[in-house]
């Protein structure tokens, strides 16, 4: 008796274990994202704090949070002098800094790769850094023209040493210059770099010339305080003399703000990537837990009925089930938090040491909010999932304790009605959304969400027919057909189990339909409309003009005899249109609009499309339509340099190459973040050797950091690669959801086996062999997983096609392409994965002691 109850407890523990795993993975992903950003944030904080240990007050330009790419104002010499004269100011360290100052490797002659930690140029006085952040390790500080000092990390990267020549790219000059290295500097504490950045130190005056075009301008200033003056007091005194565009902060505040800004942007990224998958994992987990508790309640019906017979109220019975759920939630939340700490800590370690980004510190930072969220989510998800089963438990009549009460399946009619209504709602939303064309995307997306609900409601109704059909394929022999019947005998349970798998497969299917359509559209557009054989462009960096090709270099390319035409595009990101941020809209100035019409598929729809005069604007038709702009309307565009009115003179056809795009005249480039060209299209003369031309262009562009020249096929390849990688990442992350779903199948099978112990014993007694039992369970598993896979592919296909269609109406893509083989593969993989889920339950069932099974209570 004791052994029996111990075994029961163990079995129940195992069942709950699987439910816990789902919570652990979901909460782990979620808290992992939080821990990652907190841990990285702490390390950035340490980094910035080490820079400003001696800084009492820091003066910086006020930034407009609504427009982060705004070009910051400069401080004049007179303004700086006023600050320096404030009573209580000790040392004064003017700030003259530029990003994208790229040193070249003296061995290879190539620019050091960008895209990671900043590549800084800093102006420094003859006495060095008054704040003591940087100190000389070798040589001396630069004083004359043509002299620089390098941080130790930079010197190592560029293979440069004191006395050697080093080439440095200066973005304002749009070309590199040769310098002599006269010193090597290290950070306080002997660090080579703070976070993997490169630093080129120029004499103050040369730096101002190189960065701003004249001397006497500053980005800001750092100050120390005289003895007896508090940081706060100094800050207030300094604030009083500052121009309105500048603000003073204490050193502590400033480093905290900087760290917060950096870690905010990082945590934004990790949250957007990790949280959706945590959500999917938890959603799948809900199904698993729901099933577990449902079966648990069924199996404990007698126990529960006895409690009721002994006088327990319905509420008490409900509560007894919910308490169990609560425990599962707490355990899952705790373990999930642990997993999250591992994920976050590991991620912080990897990101913090990625490449040259050597962030100070290490360790795992788990914030109180992370802990609270983890438990809240773990408990909430479990309790919500267990709520229906708990209510069902309270409806077990006390009579069930006395005799076997056949659990009759409630008829599926109500479910069918609800499902059909929900399904029609989904269809209506999607159709209306597609009709609405331009603004329909959100409606279509909502329709897809509702369609998913309909699929879940209708799942049990199609379990039997689909199960039988799949059974024809996989249900071989007696064992197979017994397995098929077992799978469809409880359609609700099977459908819930399969739904969990459906979610992952559905999302992957929808994503790959949209991605494939996008990929095909772009590839075809490139193929048919892009006549330029070569593209010179920067890699995956902000294309805002601070990095790229100079106009002079473009002019040299134009002069190549093999080159027919060059179209250079200056770009700006995240403009404000009529006072509103428009993150998805790109702004560009094209130096050769007729060329763009000839070689880049830029097609006029209305008005005039030509080389623009100052104050004129061309937009793609969709953007104009969506924002209700008419020809002749004035649009205020805020660019980093200034906000100015532009008059709409023409629209161009929207296409994958011309989507969400505004063309401004060339003079507007002065308002861009930088004058460099991120992207130039090069049309090679007919009959000229493309590869040879590419080599010549590369020769011209060799000195430009981060610029590469690609031919059409590698441009195409880049696009397809990006899409493929995106789909791969989605698939990998969602496979987590699928693993949870497979655990769900395993769980359902284990529970079913326990339920059917006597039946199994009888089958074994009348001659079903062990192998046949294994096959029977395997068939049941495959049926459930194939069912989930089919449902997922079916619904995902519908959703993917609907979304892709909506995108077609927006001209973001040109057609819908379905990756059929991928979809077939998804179903097959799902079905095969079912086999793995069957291993443990099948072995358990085969090992069953026949006699004990028959006598099983």
């Amino acid at each position: 008796m004791l052994r029996a109850s111990l075994r029961g407890l163990l079995d129940r523990k195992l069942r709950l274990t699987l439910a816990v795993i789902a919570i652990v993975l979901g909460v782990g992903f979620f808290s992992g994202a939080l821990v990652l950003s907190d841990s990285l944030g702490a390390r950035f904080k340490a980094m910035f704090a080490s820079v400003s240990t001696n800084v009492a007050v820091q003066v910086t330009a006020r930034t407009d949070p609504a427009q982060p790419s705004q070009k910051p104002p400069s401080m004049t010499q007179a303004e700086l002098d006023r600050v320096a004269a404030v009573d209580g100011v000790g040392a004064v360290s003017p700030d003259v800094t530029s990003a994208f100052v790229v040193p070249y490797d003296t061995q290879t002659g190539k620019p050091l790769p960008g895209g990671g930690p900043p590549q800084l140029g800093i102006g420094i006085g003859a006495e060095g850094d008054p704040m003591g952040v940087l100190s000389l390790a070798e040589g001396r500080w630069p004083t004359g023209a043509g002299e620089v000092a390098l941080s130790r990390h930079t010197a190592a990267q560029a293979h440069a040493a004191v006395g050697r020549q080093v080439k440095v790219f200066l973005p304002r000059l749009q070309r590199p210059q040769m310098f002599t290295v006269v010193g090597v500097a290290a950070y306080a504490g002997g660090r080579d770099s703070l976070g993997g950045e490169t630093v080129v130190l120029l004499p103050m005056a040369q730096a101002q010339e190189a960065f701003y075009g004249r001397t006497g301008l500053y980005d800001g200033v750092s100050l120390t305080a005289d003895a007896g003056v508090s940081d706060e007091a100094l800050r207030d005194r300094v604030s009083a003399v500052l121009p309105a565009t500048f603000e003073a902060k204490t050193g502590k505040q400033s480093s905290a703000d900087q760290a917060a800004a950096v870690s905010d942007s990082i945590s934004g990224l990790t949250k957007w990537v990790l949280t959706p998958f945590a959500g999917v994992a938890l959603l799948v987990g809900i199904f698993l837990i729901f099933n577990t508790f449902n079966v648990l309640v069924t199996q404990r019906a007698r126990e529960l009925a006895m409690m009721r017979a002994l006088g327990a109220s319905r509420g008490q019975v409900t509560w007894s089930v919910l308490v169990e759920a609560l425990i599962v939630g707490v355990v899952g939340g705790t373990l999930g938090l642990g997993l999250g700490a591992l994920i976050g800590g590991g991620g912080s370690w990897v990101l913090g040491n990625l490449g040259d980004a050597k962030l100070p510190g290490s360790g795992i930072t788990v914030g109180l909010d992370t802990v609270v969220y983890s438990y809240a989510i773990g408990i909430l998800v479990t309790v919500v999932a267990a709520l229906l089963p708990a209510l069902r438990a309270s409806r077990v009549p006390p009579l069930a304790a006395m005799r076997e009460i056949a659990v009759t399946d409630r008829p599926l009619r109500l479910r069918a009605a609800v499902g059909v209504v929900v399904g029609l709602g989904a269809a209506a939303l999607i159709v209306l959304g597609l009709r609405a064309q331009d603004d329909g995307l959100s409606m279509v997306a909502a329709g897809c969400g509702v369609a998913f609900l309909a699929a879940i409601v209708l799942g049990p109704l199609v379990t039997r027919p689909v199960g039988r059909a799949v059974g024809l394929l996989v249900g071989w022999g007696v064992a197979g057909s017994l397995g098929v019947r077992n799978a469809i005998r409880n359609p609700r349970r099977t459908a819930v189990t399969a739904s969990a798998l459906m979610i992952g497969v559905m999302l992957v299917t929808a994503a790959s339909v949209v991605a494939t359509s996008f990929k095909e559209s772009v590839v075809r557009a490139l193929d048919t409309t892009l006549r330029a054989e070569l593209t010179a462009a920067i890699g995956f960096q902000q294309p805002d003009g601070r990095i790229g090709i100079s106009s002079a270099a473009v002019a040299r390319i134009r002069q190549l005899p093999e080159v027919q035409e060059v179209v250079a595009m200056h770009l700006a990101v995240a403009p404000r249109l009529n006072g509103e941020t428009a993150a998805s809209i790109g702004v560009g100035a094209i130096d050769n609009v007729p060329g763009a019409q000839r070689t880049m598929g830029m097609k006029r729809v209305s008005g005039e499309v030509r080389a623009l005069n100052a104050g004129e604007l061309v937009a793609d038709e969709n953007t104009a339509k969506a924002r209700n702009w008419k020809l002749g309307d004035t649009v205020r565009i805020a660019l980093p340099g200034a906000e100015r009115p532009y008059r709409l003179v023409g629209t161009v056809e929207a296409s994958p190459l011309w989507a969400n795009f505004l063309v401004v005249p060339m003079p507007a480039v002065a308002d861009f973040a930088g004058p460099l060209i991120p992207q130039a299209m090069i049309d090679v003369r007919d009959g000229a050797d493309v590869a040879a031309t590419q080599a010549k262009v590369e020769e011209i562009l060799v000195d430009f950091p981060s610029v590469t020249v690609e031919d059409k096929s590698s441009t195409t390849r880049q696009v397809t690669q990006v899409v493929d990688i995106a789909v791969l990442i989605i698939t990998v992350l969602l496979s987590l959801a699928m693993v949870i779903a497979l655990l769900g199948i395993l769980n359902t099978l284990l529970l079913s086996i326990i339920e059917r112990t006597r039946e199994l014993g009888m089958l074994r007694a009348i001659g079903l062999g062990r192998g046949a039992v294994v096959r029977m369970i395997g068939t049941e598993a495959v049926l459930m997983s194939a069912f989930g896979g089919l449902l997922g592919v079916g619904v995902g296909l519908g959703i993917g096609v609907a979304l892709a269609k909506a995108l077609v109406y927006q001209d973001a893509i040109t057609g819908v392409w379905v990756p059929w083989w991928q979809l077939v593969a998804a179903v097959v993989v799902a079905a095969v994965a079912g086999v793995f889920a069957a291993i443990v339950p099948a072995v358990r069932a085969a090992r069953l002691n026949v006699l004990r099974a028959i006598a099983y209570e």
Binding site: M762, R764, R770, L851
Partner: protein, 249 residues
């Protein structure tokens, strides 16, 4: 099939459960032979080893000592695969409860052992059984749609469908009302009389035992008496005397 006319036999059969102090001897040297075409009832007080004896004879349980034969096959010594095949091909079972696969119709349940074995059913024999048991119009029903008596009759039909060497029935009427029980017992009787089937039935109901050709009485794991051509009263008397002799110990 068997020249000796013995369908199954046990020689010096011992069965012990557990070890050390907790050891229980369920069978203590049982010798028994079950003649072909005979209906044998096994009786005895609760815990006397009736079920154990049946399980050992049917190859469902291992024995501690002794030998078991079904026909000419030595059951003791067979491994799982051999036992499974033996049960499938030579033995029929009727359990007290939980006898049928809920997912299969009555007909599918009846034919299940044959389906498992991959044997073609003898349809004439199938018809005979079904008609005798009055299951003709219930064949397409699922077990949940049948009464307890009907379910047990389906189980009987299944046990006989493959014409096994021996049918073992462990308290087949235990869960039935007297009328349904009588139907099942009459059918078992007829299977022996008309179709020369060998049947062993464990029961503690004297009335049920009176349908048998012979009753074997077990006590404390030993066969202590036999009764040929039993009547309900005779069986009753015998059981009474078993109990009194038990008190005397």
């Amino acid at each position: 099939m068997e020249t000796t006319g013995i369908a199954a036999r046990a020689e010096g059969l011992w069965k012990r459960y557990g070890s050390g102090e907790a050891q229980v001897t369920a069978l203590a040297g049982v010798d028994v032979a079950l003649r072909s075409a005979e209906f044998t009832a096994v009786m005895g007080p609760s815990g006397s080893g009736k079920s154990t004896l049946m399980h050992c004879l049917a190859g469902l349980d291992t024995v501690s000592a002794g030998e078991v034969f079904i026909g000419s096959t030595r059951v003791t010594g067979l491994r799982d695969a051999g036992l499974t095949a033996l049960r499938r091909d030579q033995i029929g079972f009727v359990f007290q409860q939980f006898n049928l696969m809920p997912t299969l119709s009555a007909q599918e349940n009846i034919l299940l052992p044959l389906t498992i074995a991959g044997r073609k059913p003898d349809m004439a024999w199938f018809d005979t059984i079904v008609d005798t048991l009055g299951l003709r119009d219930r064949l397409s029903h699922k077990p949940t749609e049948l009464s307890g008596g009907q379910q047990q009759r389906v189980a009987c039909a299944r046990a006989l469908a493959g014409r096994p060497a021996v049918v073992f029935a462990d308290e087949p009427t235990g869960n039935l009302d007297s009328r349904s029980g009588a139907e099942v017992l009459r059918f078992l009787r007829e299977a022996v009389d008309a179709h020369r089937q060998t049947i062993v039935m464990v029961t503690h109901d004297a009335g049920a035992a009176s349908y048998a050709d012979r009753v074997v009485f077990l006590k404390d794991g030993q066969i202590i008496s036999e009764l040929a051509a039993p009547t309900a009263d005779a069986v009753h008397d015998q059981l009474k005397s078993l109990e009194t002799s038990g008190d005397g110990r």
